[in-house]
Amino acid sequence: MLLVTFSKIGLDKDSRWDMVTETELFKVIQELIANIIKHAQARNVLIELIADENMLYLTVEDDGIGFDLADNTRHRFGLNNIEARLSILGGTVSFDSQTDRGTTVMINVPTA
């Protein structure tokens, strides 16, 4: 079982963004979670959303087996797909992982 925790900073229940941003980010999160289920052997996932006036910072962090960043991460995490989605939004993605210490995916999307 995967325990998903959602944490948010700087936004409330009524915070909304344009439809493209919301839809693409939703799909990105969906894809990341699917990847975690498929590959990570994680028990916990943290989805964290931080918003300020200009940016949305999305973090998806798991406590799974992680991977060696020197490996071909693009193939492994469907990064191309995610990068394609983010390019629509003018956003960026970075990965951090260590073997047996989980994986953190950090996505920045401009909102202003």
């Binding site: 900073i9 964290e48 931080i50 910072y57 960043l69 970075s94 990965f95 953190t104 950090m106």
Partner: protein, 215 residues
């Protein structure tokens, strides 16, 4: 004093203020749906009572000044019980990092103590039916971000590692090299951590992290 109410939503109150407990007990004394089946003025006896009475919902305070207990720790202990109830945190503290921590530790609700009895009642009903009820003034919570009460902000091990290296005088490029990650990755960690701690720049981040005992 507390009769069995098998068909009702049973609640237990953990709060170190007797008057506050009395008020809730009194106002639910004739409630058709909610029955207070117990209360405790400290965490350890509260935990024992929860384990014994198996309430549906626990109303949990954060500050137990007399026993120096913390509601977040009590919540963690509640979550380790074999039959863990729904937990609504009732506190005077409106602070973003506390709220985030409560969400992470599996609280089902968070309300400030300035709500009225009707709102409390509705919160209990909503949480009992499976909803998450976190209501607070997010602006106030963010303003209070740096007022650490008992709960330090939640930072990943990696974030702490990076702040520690910053505090030792390493620059981003060196940190990236040391950890075998990209510079943008280091910066992504830093941007997030700065926002969590309310720091304007890396220097303030190191200062705040040191002050709050994170590094």
């Amino acid at each position: 004093m507390f009769p069995q109410h098998s068909a009702m939503i049973t609640i237990i109150i953990l709060d170190d203020h007797q008057l506050f407990i009395d008020g809730i007990v009194h106002s639910f004394s004739n409630d058709p749906e909610i029955a207070v089946t117990g209360f405790a003025l400290d965490g350890s006896s509260g935990l024992a009572m929860i384990g014994e009475k198996l309430p549906d919902v626990v109303l949990l305070d954060i500050d137990f000044s007399k026993t120096r207990e913390n509601g977040v720790d009590i919540l963690k202990s509640i979550r380790k019980l074999p039959q863990s109830p729904k937990v609504v945190v009732l506190t005077g503290h409106c602070e973003a990092s506390l709220i985030e921590q409560l969400q992470r530790e599996g609280a089902n609700g968070y309300r400030l103590k300035n709500i009225d009895m009707g709102e409390l009642r509705q919160t209990i009903l909503d949480v009992y039916s499976g909803e998450m009820v976190f209501k607070y003034d997010s602006k106030l919570a963010n303003e209070n971000r740096n007022l650490f009460f008992d709960t330090p902000p939640i930072l990943s091990d990696r974030a702490v590692e990076i702040i520690r290296l910053l505090s030792q005088g390493f620059i981003v490029k060196e940190i990236a090299h040391k950890l075998g990650i990209a510079e943008t990755t280091v910066n992504d960690h830093l941007e997030r951590t700065k926002r969590k701690l309310g720091a304007k720049n890396n220097a303030e981040l190191v200062y705040l992290a040191g002050k709050s005992g994170v590094i």
